[in-house]
């Protein structure tokens, strides 16, 4: 009887876990889902949402502008939103959706898009 009870408990827990656990995604897929709505399907800042925005989203292909940002700043902007860097609130905080590892991967993805690294000059 106890054995059946244990099996039922495990089965119930599995269903509950299945309902809440989400898997880690690639930077490319996360960028497609969460970033392209504003930053555009070509990462050029021309997303479907921009028509009535008071501040236009960053063109991630703009290596000159992107190289003025450190990786730490990019990480913070994604995780905590634009306001954390005294930038626009239209860039929201993604901390509740993306893990730190996924955000680190996104920073690397941004560096690929801009074909640039941080340059202090």
């Amino acid at each position: 009887m106890n054995k059946y009870l244990l099996i039922m408990l495990i089965a119930t827990s599995s269903i509950c876990l299945h309902a809440t656990v989400t898997s880690a995604e690639s930077a490319k897929d996360n960028y497609r889902t969460y970033c392209m709505q504003c930053h555009g399907m070509n990462a050029d800042g021309l997303g479907v949402n921009i028509q009535d925005m008071s501040v236009q989203p960053r063109d991630h292909g703009d290596s000159k502008a992107m190289s003025t940002r450190t990786d730490t700043e990019l990480f913070k902007a994604i995780k905590e939103g634009g306001l954390a860097l005294s930038k626009s609130s239209l860039m929201p905080p993604w901390a509740d959706i993306l893990t730190d590892q996924e955000i680190h991967d996104l920073v690397k993805h941004l560096r690929k898009l801009c074909k640039c690294e941080y340059n202090s000059k």
Binding site: H18, T22, N30, M36, G40, L46, G47, Q51, P92
Partner: protein
């Protein structure tokens, strides 16, 4: 005395007739609604059982809103009316990336990829609305929310929506004005239950783990103002 006994029994039984008829009608409408969900193939686009997508791949394939918690989310009278005269609520479809194309100034919605929702007659709309109202998988998420309609949004309501929290980036606050990747909010007040709006803003991922709406961590009072702002929007003239 003896002759009045059958009369009393009869009177008692007569009381049960309306209850029985009422229950039968209610049950058959609900049962009919389930059959109608099958007849109209609602499950081909909507999830009638959970959970919500837990991977991006599942999220991208979703064709219509999940309905397994429709009774927690929608106002029943709105569903009944909308099913008879369906209009598009998400300007760029369910997942915007499936419906946009590059344009000269910005990515544009490719209207040819968007499908109209089927239109139902009054009988079917009423029966399905009643059935959906009973689908309440997420009652636990809204039962702690208390909507306070007396908190006026004032000018801060719009300011929060547009500037402070940037919600307008993804949502339209009037036809043709605002973002496209989220559902329009100028109809949200008549479409959604206020407790659902409060709970969804509190934690969108509790309802839909992979959804592209971020959590802005609003203080409770601001959440009330934002919800009351959306309810106010739903009463504006462009909704008539």
């Amino acid at each position: 005395m003896n002759s009045s006994m059958p009369m009393n029994v009869l009177k008692t039984l007569l009381w049960f007739i309306p209850i029985y008829v009422g229950l039968t009608i209610s049950f058959s409408a609900h049962a009919g609604g389930i059959e109608l969900l099958e007849k109209h193939a609602c499950a081909s686009c909507h999830a009638l059982t959970g959970p919500a997508p837990t991977t991006l791949d599942q999220l991208w394939q979703r064709k219509g809103p999940d309905l397994f918690y429709a009774g927690n989310k929608y106002r029943q009278e709105w569903i009944e009316q909308w099913l008879q005269q369906p209009t598009r609520i998400r300007p760029a479809g369910m997942f915007y990336m499936n419906h946009i194309t590059p344009g000269p100034k910005r990515n544009m919605v490719d209207e040819s990829t968007l499908k109209q929702h089927i239109q139902l007659n009054q009988h079917d709309a009423k029966a399905i609305a009643e059935t959906l109202a009973n689908m309440k998988s997420h009652t636990a998420l809204i039962q702690t929310e208390k909507h306070n309609g007396s908190i006026s949004p004032g000018p801060l309501g719009e300011m929060m929506f547009d500037k402070i929290y940037g919600c307008m980036a993804c949502h339209q606050i009037e036809p043709g004005f605002g973002g496209m990747s989220g559902p329009e909010v100028y109809t949200a007040g008549k479409r959604l239950k206020p407790e659902y709006m409060l709970s969804y803003i509190r934690n969108p991922q509790a309802w839909d783990p992979k959804i592209w709406m971020p959590n802005a961590h609003l203080p409770d009072n601001n959440k009330q103002k934002l919800v009351n702002y959306m309810i106010k929007l739903s009463k504006e003239s462009f909704n008539e």
